[in-house]
C-alpha cells in the first residue's frame, strides 16, 4: 500500500512506486517564487548558467513581501521582478494581489497529484489541495528553473489524526498550536505530514490551508490533506481544471507501521503560544490577563477570508480596548473584496481595526509597522521567533483570529469563549 506522498512522488519521477529513503529525481509541475527570494536571487544564477526558465507556463511569480513599495530599495526589487517576468515570458504574474500561498490556489493553479516547489518555507500550504508542495531556497530554485527537476529523498508519512468535532470558537489554528506543543518543531523530521480524521474533513478548504501551512512549523517537508468534494469545489470555483483521476489521490489510510499522532478535537480549547516558539502553546486560559499592545490579524496563515470572518464574528457590535491597536492585513485582494461585500470589513473597521495592504506586512519583519522595542503582539501568524516581526526585544504570542479579536476587545489575552458568553 502506498501513501499519498509516495503516489505523487512516484508519478513525478516516473516510477510505478517508490519507498521511503529512496533518492529520486522528480519533474516539477509548478514552481512558485516571490519578490523576496525570487527573481532578484535567481536571475544572476540563471544568467551564469546561460539558461531561461525551463517552462514559463509552469512558473508563478507573486509580489507580496516588499509590499507596499516604500523605499528606493524596494522599488528596485519590484522593477527587477517585473522586467525579469517579461523577459522570461511568464504570464502567471500576480503583482501586489496578496500573499503567494493564498494567491496561487485562489488563481486555480493547484490540484490533487501535482508535484510543486515554492521559494518560501510555507509552501507546504499547497498540501491542502492534495499537491506535494514544499519550500526550497533560491539557489535550489534556480536549479529547478533551469532544469525543471529536483532531487528528493522519499519521505515517510507521519499521520496527524484529529477525530471528533471542534467546539465553537476553536479552529484550525488551535489544532496546529496544540500539535506543535505535542510533537515539537522538529517533530515533522522533514518527512511528509498528512492530516486525517473527521475534524480535518469538516474544515473549510481555507481552514485546511492553515494546517498545511503550519506543517512548516512542525519541520515537515509538506503537509498533505487528501482531496475531497470540498477541495474540488474550491478548485473549480477558482477557475482551475480538475484532473479526471482526482479520486485516485484520495488516499488517507495510514500504511501499516506508520506513525499516527492522535488528537481529539472535541476536547481542544483555544490555544496561545508564548514567545519565541509555536510549540510554547497552552490553553488560552493559562495566559488570561497577559497584557499586549498590538493585535495582528495577518499573514497567509491567519488573514484569509475565513480568518477575517472569524475575527468579525467576535468583533461584531464590539470595540477594541483602549491602548490596543488592531491591525488587519487581508491575505489577498480577492479575500478582501469578498469580506467587503459580505460586510466583514465594515465590522472590523467599526471595531477600530486599521487596515494594511494585502501582503506579508509585519509578518515578514519588513515595513514601517514592524514592532518597536519591547512591544508585545498577539498575532494570527504562524511563527513567533525572537525579533521576527520587529525589534529583538519585541514579544510575539500566537493565537487564532477568534482569540486575537476577543483579546483585543478585552484588552488582555483571553479565551474567546469567555467574551462570547458575556
Amino acid at each position: 500500500m502506498t501513501t499519498l506522498a509516495q503516489k505523487i512522488i512516484a508519478n513525478a519521477c516516473n516510477k510505478s512506486e517508490v519507498e521511503p529513503g529512496e533518492l529520486v529525481v522528480c519533474k516539477v509541475d509548478l514552481a512558485m517564487i516571490h519578490d523576496s527570494g525570487g527573481p532578484r536571487r535567481v536571475k544572476p544564477i540563471l544568467e551564469k548558467l546561460n539558461r531561461k526558465v525551463w517552462d514559463a507556463e509552469r512558473v508563478v511569480v507573486v509580489t507580496d513581501h516588499y509590499v507596499p513599495i516604500e523605499s528606493e530599495e524596494t522599488r528596485a526589487i519590484h522593477e527587477l521582478t517585473k522586467k525579469w517576468v517579461r523577459n522570461q515570458d511568464i504570464q502567471n504574474f500576480y503583482d501586489q494581489q496578496g500573499i503567494c500561498h493564498v494567491v496561487v490556489p485562489e488563481k486555480g493553479h493547484l490540484k490533487p497529484g501535482m508535484f510543486c516547489v515554492g521559494g518560501d518555507s510555507h509552501s507546504p500550504t499547497g498540501g491542502a489541495f492534495g499537491a506535494y508542495m514544499f519550500g526550497i531556497g533560491a539557489t535550489e530554485m534556480a536549479g529547478v528553473l533551469a532544469t525543471g527537476e529536483i532531487w528528493l529523498k522519499v519521505p515517510k508519512t507521519i499521520f496527524i489524526k484529529w477525530k471528533g468535532k471542534l467546539n465553537n470558537l476553536v479552529t484550525a489554528k488551535d489544532m496546529m498550536l496544540a500539535t506543535c506543543r505535542k510533537i515539537g518543531m522538529g517533530g515533522g523530521q522533514y518527512q511528509a505530514i498528512q492530516y486525517i480524521g473527521e475534524a480535518i474533513y469538516d474544515l473549510s478548504v481555507q481552514d485546511r490551508m492553515t494546517l498545511s501551512n503550519m506543517a512548516a512549523e512542525l519541520g515537515a517537508q509538506t503537509g498533505l490533506i487528501a482531496p475531497d468534494d470540498k477541495t474540488i469545489d474550491y478548485i473549480k470555483s477558482s477557475g482551475g481544471l480538475v484532473p479526471e483521476n482526482w479520486k485516485s489521490f484520495r488516499l488517507d489510510e495510514p500504511t501499516s507501521g506508520a506513525k499516527v499522532n492522535e488528537f481529539d478535537a472535541s476536547t481542544l480549547s483555544p490555544q496561545i503560544a508564548a514567545p519565541h516558539s509555536p510549540e510554547n502553546s497552552e490553553n488560552a486560559d493559562e495566559f488570561a490577563n497577559t497584557v499586549f499592545d498590538v493585535a495582528y490579524i495577518g499573514a497567509c496563515t491567519g488573514a484569509k477570508y475565513v480568518d477575517l470572518a472569524a475575527a468579525a464574528s467576535v468583533l461584531k457590535g464590539r470595540k477594541i480596548a483602549s491602548g490596543i491597536s488592531l491591525k488587519v492585513a487581508p491575505a489577498s485582494a480577492k479575500d478582501e473584496k469578498q469580506a467587503l461585500e459580505d460586510g466583514i470589513l465594515k465590522i472590523l473597521q467599526d471595531a477600530g481595526a486599521e487596515f494594511l495592504p494585502n501582503s506579508c506586512g509585519i509578518c515578514a519583519g519588513y515595513g514601517k509597522d514592524r514592532l518597536a522595542e519591547g512591544q508585545v503582539c498577539l498575532s494570527s501568524t504562524a511563527r513567533n521567533f525572537q525579533g521576527r516581526m520587529g525589534a529583538p526585544t519585541s514579544e510575539l504570542y500566537l493565537a487564532s483570529p477568534y482569540t486575537v479579536a476577543a483579546s483585543a476587545v478585552v484588552g488582555k489575552m483571553t479565551d474567546p469563549r469567555k467574551l462570547m458568553v458575556n
Partner: protein, 164 residues
Amino acid sequence: MSRLWLFEETINTDVLAPGFYMKSPLAELSQHCLEAVRPEFASKVKKGDVLLAGDNMGVGSSREQAAEVLKFLGISCIIAKSFAGIFYRNAINLGLPAFLLPKDSQLPKEFVDGSSVVFDFENSILFLEGSGIQINLDPLPAFLQELINDGGLVPHLEKRFDEK
C-alpha cells in the same frame, strides 16, 4: 586550526538572517548574523571556523541567506544534531558542508565553545586540537559529496551543462 562555535539552543533563520536587514547586501546582513543570541559572533568569527548546533538547526524560513551569511563570514562546516530540511538543502547547494552528529551519540564534553578544532572533510571527522579526541560524523551520500566538491549546485550545473 579553527575555533568551534557551540550553540546549545535551536538556531532559527530569523536569528541567522534577521528580516529587517534582508534587503541589504550580504556583507551588511552578515554583520547581524546571530546578534540576537550571540552579539559578538559576526565580528569574532574567522575563516575556517566550525559551527556546531543542537537540534533543528536552521529552522524557519527558506531564506538561503541564513546559510549564506555563515559561509560569507567564513564558517567552513556546520555540524548539528539535526537540521531543518530547507536549511540543510540550502547549505549543501551553496557548497557549505553540513554534517549530522551520529544518532544517539553524545558530543564528548571536551568539545566546548571556543575549542580549537580541525575538520577532516574527506573522512568527516572533527578533531579536538592536540588531544586525540575526535568525533566521527555521518558521511554525506555520494552525490551530495560531489555537489560540495563541485563547489555547490551552481558550479555543479555549469559542469553538467558544459558536458552536454
